[in-house]
């Protein structure tokens, strides 16, 4: 019974996110501007620097998975803001008085954020094709890449909810969010191979879940080298389970 209640709440949270998105799509479009600039401006300029070893892949193509993930993860990392807002209003109190268990609220919201991320990526995807990025025309690979995108975004949204449950105010949350996003992006293989990094940064990149997500999406969409993909999925699943658990446990604190 309790499980059913929780499952229902999770689906309701996803539906809520979709309905919000339908009422106001501007956010999706405006958020697409930055990644498109990364590809069109940064990618174009940097592709003239031939020192970055990309295994013969054009540089724009090389960074497309990273940029795609960065743009969706940006949404997720700041998803906690919604929770902070709902805490300031009475919405969270009210959800906690509903029959579902508390972890359902956390997981439901994190998954909802993952769904939002996929929608976001779907906007950038065709633009990348227009910019001349060559994707591997295998629908299964593309599907798997989007699954990875969904999983990592959900995980980062849970991380964001966890941070929100500790920070509780918008200002403190924004500070932490900003501090998280850049290192996350630069200490990963999104823009350059890990082998180019100094050892210290390499060890951060090694524990950065984004590295595994980028590796999988790059293998599936661009390079076709899928040998590491199963290991990447395992890494991200472990990350998701860990962070969903931590966020669910700490969620109690948010209303106190």
């Amino acid at each position: 019974m309790a499980f059913n209640d929780s499952l229902r709440e999770m689906f309701a949270m996803i539906e809520l996110e979709m309905r919000r998105l339908r009422h106001d799509r501007t956010e999706i479009y405006t958020r697409a501007v930055q990644p498109i600039l990364w590809l069109a401006v940064y990618g174009t300029v940097m592709s003239h620097v031939r020192d970055i070893p990309t295994n013969g892949i054009p540089y724009i193509d090389y960074i497309t998975p990273g940029v795609l993930l960065q743009s969706t993860i940006f949404v997720s990392v700041f998803y906690g803001l919604t929770i902070v807002w709902e805490r300031e209003t009475g919405i969270l109190k009210r959800l906690l008085v509903a029959p579902a268990s508390r972890y359902a609220t956390v997981i439901g919201r994190a998954i909802a954020s993952g769904v939002r991320a996929v929608v976001q990526a779907l906007i950038i995807f065709p633009v990348a094709i227009l910019l001349g990025v060559k994707f591997i025309p295998n629908p299964l690979y593309i599907l798997a890449a989007f699954l990875m995108l969904f999983m990592i975004s959900g995980g980062f949204a849970a991380l964001s909810i966890f941070v929100a449950s500790l920070m509780k105010t918008r200002e403190r949350f924004m500070g932490i969010g900003q501090a998280m996003i850049m290192p996350l992006f630069f200490a990963s293989n999104a823009l350059y191979p890990i082998s180019l990094m100094p050892p210290f940064l390499q060890s951060i990149a090694f524990v950065n879940p984004l590295t595994y997500a980028v590796d999988a999406v790059r293998g599936l969409m661009i390079s076709g080298n899928v040998a590491n993909v199963p290991a990447d999925f395992v890494a991200v699943i472990v990350f998701d389970i860990l962070i969903f658990t931590v966020a669910s446990i700490s969620f109690r604190k948010i209303i106190e």
């Binding site: 229902r8 309701a12 309905r19 106001d24 009475g90 109190k93 009210r94 008085v97 029959p99």
Partner: protein
């Protein structure tokens, strides 16, 4: 069997201590009857919101027991959550979707079967008078409409107990009236118990069956609104004496005040139902327990002394006075202060 009164909420020695030092609730005992509208009055920081949040299973008490229709709010919290509706003090709807969609999401969270969903939603919208604006975005609603939508969300599952934390805070009088009229008719139809926090005395007076006053984490007074008002037993009757300087002179009045008044005062004070009496300017204030009984006797005394009356005004204590007395910071008073305080009531 039929005469037994069903208890909706039973609270025994409920205590909540924050951070090991602040006693938000300090041994609350309270019983709320089923199908009653119950008002919890208290100044800011008195513990009324804490009490409501404990009853709605948001967190656990430090000590004590609370039950909703027999379910313990700690041990059977999942069961409690299924029979209650709750509207927090702060805004609690999503403003970027429509009113209907808000209810739809809640209907899904609460597992209203899909066959009944539409009907339940429209019933709730209608009971709060929102059916015409249901498909508009909530961000365009007025404060009163948002409040009614929040209540509609809580009514969706036809809860046995509805908890409302300051339900009409910040609403204009007509919006407040609309909220209460809708609530009352819903309550009439479904027999819902309503437990609400407020510091609007008139609201508690008009709409509640029973009232409790909470102060510093303790229930300091409990009863119906009229019982509480009677507990002050200090109705004041003010007699404006006719001005002896007017053209129309009664032979005996001209000489009456103020010289003769002390004697009259003594006689009035000696009356059974009179607690105190005093004379200011040309107004005689008499504090009585029950004006309807005392008035004829006092008039009789005044007549015997040949005093003419211009006007008689009676002032009964309001719930505000009750609130100030039990939740204010005043010390227990001596008999001599009764009048002083009672005359303060009118201001």
């Amino acid at each position: 069997m039929a005469s037994a009164i069903e208890i909706a909420i039973e609270i025994k020695q409920l205590t909540k201590v924050y951070d090991g030092k602040v006693n938000a609730l300090d041994g609350v005992d309270l019983t709320v009857k089923a199908a009653d509208i119950f008002a919890l009055l208290g100044p800011n920081g008195s513990g009324k919101t804490t009490l409501m949040r404990l009853l709605t299973t948001q967190f656990r008490p430090t000590a004590g027991v609370a039950r909703a229709f027999g379910y313990d709010v700690v041990k059977d919290d999942a069961k409690v959550r299924k029979i209650i509706g709750y509207v927090p003090q702060e805004m609690s709807v999503w403003t970027d979707i429509t009113g209907f969609e808000n209810l739809l999401i809640y209907a899904k969270i609460y597992g209203v079967p899909s066959g009944q969903r539409k009907k339940s939603i429209w019933d709730a919208l209608q009971s709060m008078g929102l059916d015409e604006v249901a498909n508009g975005p909530v961000k365009k609603y007025s404060g009163g409409m948002i409040r009614r939508l929040e209540i509609a969300c809580a009514l969706l599952i036809k809860p046995r107990i509805l908890f409302l934390d300051e339900p009409t805070l910040g609403l204009d009088p007509s919006a407040r009236k609309a909220v209460w009229e809708n609530l009352r008719s819903f309550k009439k139809e479904y027999g819902t118990t309503v437990f609400f926090n407020t510091h609007y005395m008139d609201e508690a007076d008009l709409y509640s069956d029973e009232v409790a006053i909470i102060n510093r984490g303790k229930i300091v007074k409990f009863g119906t609104a009229s019982e509480l008002k009677h507990s002050l037993h200090s109705e004041i009757i003010s007699f404006s004496l006719a001005d002896p300087g007017t053209d129309f002179k009664h032979p005996s009045t001209a000489a009456a005040p103020p010289r003769m008044l002390p004697g009259i005062l003594e006689r009035i004070k000696a009356l059974n139902f009179v607690e105190d009496a005093a004379f200011n300017d040309s107004v005689l204030d008499v504090v009585v327990e029950d004006g309807e009984i005392a008035l004829p006797a006092i008039i009789e005394v005044l007549r015997c002394d040949g005093i003419l009356l211009d006007r008689i005004r009676s002032t009964r204590p309001t719930l505000d006075d009750v609130f100030l007395k039990y939740a204010g910071m005043r010390q227990p008073k001596t008999q001599g202060e009764v009048l002083h305080e009672a005359s303060g009531i009118r201001q």
